[in-house]
Each structure stands twice: as C-alpha cells, then as structure tokens.
C-alpha cells in the first residue's frame, strides 16, 4: 500500500475557503489528501488545533488565510502569522519536521493557486513519509 499522507487544512471563510470552492466550481483537479476545516478567520487558529491534528495522526497541517492587508477582519491573518512562527519553532523541538506545517495566503480568486499549493504540499509531505509523532504525544484537552 502506497503511503497517502493526510493533510489537515484550516482555511479562513472569506478568502481561502472561497478560493478552494472556486477550484471546485472551476473543476480543477488536485491530490485528494487535503482535508479542509473551515474557520471564520485564520486568527482563530490556535496552536492546540494544529497540535491536535498532529496528535490525531495528520502528516501535515496547512493553514491558509487572506493575503496581508486583505483580511476580512482587518488583521487576523497577522495574528496568525505571529503564532505560526512561534509554533514552527515549537514543533521542531517536538521532533516534527518544519515542512509539515505550512502557512500560505490564498485569496478568494486564487483557485488555481490553491490547487498548485495542494499538489505541492502533498508531494513534499509524501517525501517526508508518515509523521509518527502521534505515537508519543498527548495534548491536553479542554
């Protein structure tokens, strides 16, 4: 059985989720490894969400928000960016390869870019192989 990574993706409702919808309505094709979760703003994404995804066995996590300056809520994507940098360092200390966590900006009109991103990230993570962190990790639950 060939390794098929599972990539949990958090997409903001206004830009990236709409962009992914556009890829659908335009019938573009991409790898089926991306699993999308909708949040209102990338600023809503807590580190816990990302860590839970890894704990539950995700091989990669993708966060998408509006381009800088385009956030529906003005600046949620900047908040997300700051957390992302911190989280990148943190996951490395846990032994998770930094390429497994990505933050990208996708606007509502960038269906094509989303498709390219999905294929590219799937390939990157396929090369990295399965993440095994879920074997050793406990994330506190609220």
């Amino acid at each position: 059985m060939q390794f098929q990574p599972v990539i949990v993706s958090f997409l903001c409702n206004w830009c990236s989720y709409t962009g992914a919808d556009l890829a659908g309505t335009s019938r573009m094709k991409y790898a089926s490894n991306i699993r999308i979760i909708r949040v209102m703003c990338s600023g809503r994404i807590e580190p816990t969400f990302v860590l839970t995804a890894f704990k539950e066995g995700a091989d990669g996590v993708l966060i998408c928000g509006c381009h800088p300056g385009d956030c529906h809520y003005h600046e949620g994507n900047y908040k997300c960016l700051r957390r992302f940098h911190l989280l990148q360092k943190y996951i490395q200390q846990m032994g998770i390869h930094p390429d497994r966590l990505r933050l990208e900006w996708i606007s509502a009109s960038e269906g094509k870019q989303f498709v390219e991103l999905a294929d590219e990230i799937t390939e990157t993570i396929s090369k990295l192989g399965p993440a095994r962190i879920n074997k050793y990790m406990e994330v506190a639950k609220y």
């Binding site: 059985m1 019938r27 816990t48 529906h72 957390r83 009109s109 399965p130």
Partner: protein, 589 residues
C-alpha cells in the same frame, strides 16, 4: 444532558457528487457512528422534497442535530438552516460537509474521493455533537444610505432611494456629478444624447430634498478603517471641501466606477507621442466640441479605429471591456454624418455586438461605405507610424490581416484607440474601507455571480456599475436600481439579523489580563474595572475568533467555533484515516 440524536443526509447532487463518491455506501456506513439515528442519501437535498425529508425526519425520529453532506456551506447552509427552523429546531444545530467543491469536483479517483468524503462527513458528525442553540439577535436599520461615487450608477441608485422618501448621502471625489457618462457625446445603439439624459438627472439629484451631495469628498479613517459598524448601523466621517461631517447610515452602495486604460502602455500605438493618435475618451471630447479636426486643424480624410486597446491581451488586461465595439460603431456613424467623404477603417479583432439594438447597429454601420479590417488581438498588434511629410496622410498603420495573414498598410489622418475599462488604482483601498474583496482583475466581487450579483459578502454593502465589472450604461443603471431595491427592502423590514456567532467571556475563568482587548480589531471588548473581567460588546463583535485563540485561560469562547467543536471536528476527520495509517505501519514492521 439531552440525548444527542443526529440525522445524516448525503446529497447526490444529481450526478455531480454521486459520480465520484459512493454516496449509498457512505450513508450506510455513517449509520454506525455514535449518536447517528438515521442516515440517508437523496438525489437533491436542496430541493423542496429533499428539505421535506429533513423536516419530517426531525419530527418523526426526534432528531436534534443535522448533518448534510453536499455542496459548499457558502451555497446552501442558509437553505438547510431554514429547513431546521421550519421543523422547530434551532438553525445552529446544523453542520455541512462540503463533498462537492472540496471532493467530487476536484478529484479523479472514485475510491480516494469516497475516502475523503467519509472523513469530511465523520468530521461534521463529530462537530455537530457539540453544537448549541444560538439565539438570533435583531438590530434596527438606519434608514439613511451612503452612496460612494456620483456617476450614472450612483445617481440612479440615489434617485431610486430618495424618491422613496429615504435619506441618501452621495459622496463624490471629484467636483462634479455625472462621472464617465457626463463625458460622452452620444450613446449607442440609438445615438441619443448622453448630456440630455444625465444633465436632467444631475439637476434632480442636486435639488432633491432627500439627497445630500458631498463633492470633492473623501472618507476619513477612524480606527484604521474608514467605515465602521455593521449592516443597519454604519458610521463614518467624511471630509468635503475642507469640512468634516459625521454620517450614520444603514447601507452602503459602492459605485466608484472605472478608469480608462492608459493607452501609453501599448508602445506600438505611439499614444502620447503621435499627436493624431487619440483614445476614445479624447475622441468623445472632440465630438462634444462639435468639429472633427486633427491637431493641426485639418479635416481628416482618413480615420482609423483600432479595437481592443489594452483588452483581451495577457500583456495588458485579459478580459473584454464589453462596450468598445459598439462605441466604435457609434463613432463610424457620427463621423459619417459629419464628414461623409472621410474614409473610415474599423480595425477589429472580433465584433461583439450583443444586447438590444447592437446587432442592428452593426448591420446599419456595415452598409455605411466604410471598411472593416481584422487583426490578431493576441500577437502582432498593429504598428502606428508617422508618415513621411511627402505622403498625403499623417499616419500609417501596419498590421497583419487576421485571416489572410497578409501585411496591410492603412493610411490615416487620425487614429482612435478604443481603450478598455480598468478598476481604479485605489480599488484595493476602497475594498478595504468597506470590507469587501477584489477579483483577479481588481473589480469588486459580488456575493454570487448569478444569484446575487449586487450584494457582497459584507452584509449591507452593495456594488453597482463598472466598479464591479465592465458594463454599459443600461447594465449599470439596472444594477444600481437593483441595489436600491435591496436597500429599500432592508429599510422597509426595519430590522436585520445580526451575526450571532460572536465571542463571549466566561467571567468565572477570565483572569483580567486584557490580552483579548489588544487583539480585537473592532474594539468590541472592554475591561470592567468593577468585575475585573473582560466584557464583549456583541453589537460590535463580528466573530472572527482572534480573541479566543489568544486567551491564555480559555475564558473567551467563539460561539459556533468553540475549541471543543473544532477539536472534535479534527478528531472525527482523523478517526477513519488513523486506522488506515496503523495498518500501513503494521505492514512496514
């Protein structure tokens, strides 16, 4: 705690989903998940019979949570929420799994797509367990309307609303009303005077008791944003002729219009260097002046018109501006009636004569003793050169005829470049100010291209006219009046449903650190010195959730996007994949 009883409905969407996803197998499979009482699949869940299934099942099986796996929630979430309401269930006890836009339409392997759909539905089932009833909040609607832009679209919308007796604030950045339409001589296809049409409207607007016009106006930023508030109750401060005015209004119509393409960008045409190469904007001025003469004061013997300047070409704008072809035909008619002896060469790529009266204009024009020539709009654009002074003409146009491939030279004393429409340079700033988005060509995006072409994703903000896409006057006016109808409808109802998915503070847990206050973009959170906790103003909160992810104690909850809901969604999503992954690892070892 009440018993959770979930109904799962998987849509075929005709063949759209069913072709790529084994919906029947999935609906059987979902039956076995915890708390799922009933699981069904149906051809079209969004149809009336489809919704009836949900409504009847809620009653029959006492369901209290519903999952529909179908298209994007951006499409039909509202439809199904209404169905829940019909059955007497709180509309927020609902979750949608997007297995069309995010699965069946974008993947090619049926097994893989079914697997992905399984994960998405399982995630929705896990999430809906934690959904809670949310009560709708109602706010009043301020009956005044702000219209940005005083062109034909803005004016039409303003008159429609003001004639219904409602206040309009019309702001215009230039010193006069009328916009582009005021600079046009005659309109196509019936060659009526634009001036007669627009002057009358401008006068009515200026003297209308319900319209306040602000010329030379700009919006002043507050809290980094120019228009604050939400549907029903916006406010802003504008600066007009040096005076500041504070305005309160319930709806916004954006009618900021277009910018003509800068013809200097196409080097081939020598616009700006060759004095007798003019754009369609310049030519309207020439027509309005009453005499068609070249820059050196001669009557032109040959006039050439070049279409698609800056349009339909990847190097400039890839889209068609819709109005240039017919405007060019209008010029042919106007020139022919003023200067019957002048030769006219209409150099086009494709003649787009759609809409009422346009094809007729084309056939009338083609009988007018003029010449149509074609060029390739994608490559080998025509080259305009200054003719030598011995030649009896001023300019020489060289190009390859599209069909024969032959090189052709056309003499001209004047060349008219049919420039396309572009979005304004500050379109992005305007979009940011009112909270809407731009498409790839920097026009404003409507909520739905077919079903909701005047509204935007921000409630209470409408886009009309050429700021939304290139269009002619009739289309702009129709759109403006449609938006006016929408605004009047919301004023008539007098109340709007306000976002209920706001943040709320658990005051028992809040430690008063005020981190949330520093991250809130709407200043919706304030610190209560008395209670030593943060409090959310639910009218200002728009539910982005940034505060809840910043809260160190977990005291702030984003309603409908709580930690528990999202974490369960992740767990539900991974449950199926996880077992598969373990299998691989066993194989490996």
């Amino acid at each position: 705690m009440e018993e959770k009883r979930i109904g799962v409905y998987i849509c075929w969407c005709g063949t759209n989903i069913a072709n790529m996803v084994d919906v029947e197998a999935l609906s059987k499979e979902m039956q076995s998940l915890p708390n799922v009482v009933i699981s069904k699949d149906y051809k079209y869940m969004c149809s009336d019979p489809g919704q009836d299934i949900i409504v009847n099942d809620i009653k029959e099986y006492k369901l209290n949570r519903i999952v529909v796996a179908a298209c994007s929630p951006r499409m039909h979430e509202i439809t199904f929420r209404k169905a829940l309401e019909t059955a007497g269930l709180n509309p927020y006890m609902f979750e949608m799994a997007n297995i069309r836009e995010h699965a069946s339409w974008v993947h090619t392997d049926r097994n893989e797509t079914t697997g992905k759909a399984r994960d998405l539905i399982a995630a929705a089932i896990a999430r809906v367990q934690w959904h809670e009833s949310l009560e709708k909040r109602i706010a009043g609607v301020n009956p005044a309307t702000l219209i940005i832009g005083g062109g034909i679209s803005g004016i039409s919308a303003a008159l429609e609303i003001a004639n219904a007796g409602k206040q309009v604030y019309l702001i215009e950045k230039s010193g006069t009303l009328g916009g582009i339409a005021a600079g046009i001589d005659l309109t196509y296809p019936f060659l009526n005077s634009a001036k007669q049409m627009i002057d009358h409207k401008i006068n009515t607007v200026m003297n209308h008791p319900m319209i306040s016009v602000y010329l030379n106006a700009e919006v002043k930023p507050e809290f980094g944003k120019k228009i604050v508030g939400l549907v029903g109750n916006f406010e802003t401060t504008i600066k007009s002729n040096g005076e500041e005015t504070k305005l309160n209004f319930g709806n916004v119509i954006v009618a900021t219009g277009l910018k003509p393409f800068d013809a200097q960008k196409v080097i081939n045409y020598g616009y700006g260097k060759l004095p007798n190469v003019v754009t369609s904007v310049d030519f309207e001025k020439i027509l309005k002046s009453g005499v068609i003469i070249t820059r050196d004061g001669r009557v032109p013997k040959d006039i050439a018109i070049i279409h698609c300047v800056g349009s339909r070409n990847e190097n400039y704008n890839a889209y068609c501006s819709r109005t240039c072809c017919m405007t060019a035909l209008k010029y042919v008619n106007q020139i022919k009636s003023a200067l019957p002896k002048t030769n006219i060469y209409d150099i086009y790529s494709d003649m787009r004569a759609f809409g009422k009266g346009s094809e007729e204009l084309y056939s009338i024009t083609s009988r007018k003793n003029m010449m149509f020539l074609t060029f390739d709009h994608k490559e080998n654009l025509p080259q305009i050169k200054q003719a030598s002074y011995e030649d009896p003409f001023n300019l020489l146009i060289e190009f390859k005829e599209k069909f024969s491939g032959e090189s052709i030279e056309v003499p001209a004393d004047m060349v008219i470049l049919m420039v396309g429409m572009e979005a304004h340079d500050d379109a992005k700033q305007i979009a940011h100010d009112v909270g809407i988005s731009l498409c790839g060509n920097r026009f404003f995006i409507e909520r739905h291209p077919k079903l909701d072409p005047v509204a935007t994703t921000t409630d209470g903000v409408y886009v009309v006219g050429t700021c939304q896409s290139p269009k002619d006057i009739p289309d702009s006016v129709s759109q403006a009046r449609a938006a006016a109808a929408r605004v009047l409808a919301s004023i008539l109802v007098g109340k709007v449903e306000v976002e209920v998915t706001t943040a709320s503070v658990n005051e028992e847990v809040c430690c008063g650190c005020q981190t949330c206050i520093s991250v809130c973009p709407y200043t919706a959170i304030s610190y209560s010195v008395e209670d030593k906790v943060s409090k959310v103003n639910e009218i200002l909160c728009k539910g982005c959730g940034t505060c809840s992810s910043a809260c160190p104690t977990g005291a702030i909850r984003s309603k409908h996007f709580t930690d528990q809901q999202i974490l369960s969604q992740i767990e539900g999503m991974m449950s199926a994949s996880k077992s598969k992954k373990n299998l691989i690892e066993i194989e490996e070892t």
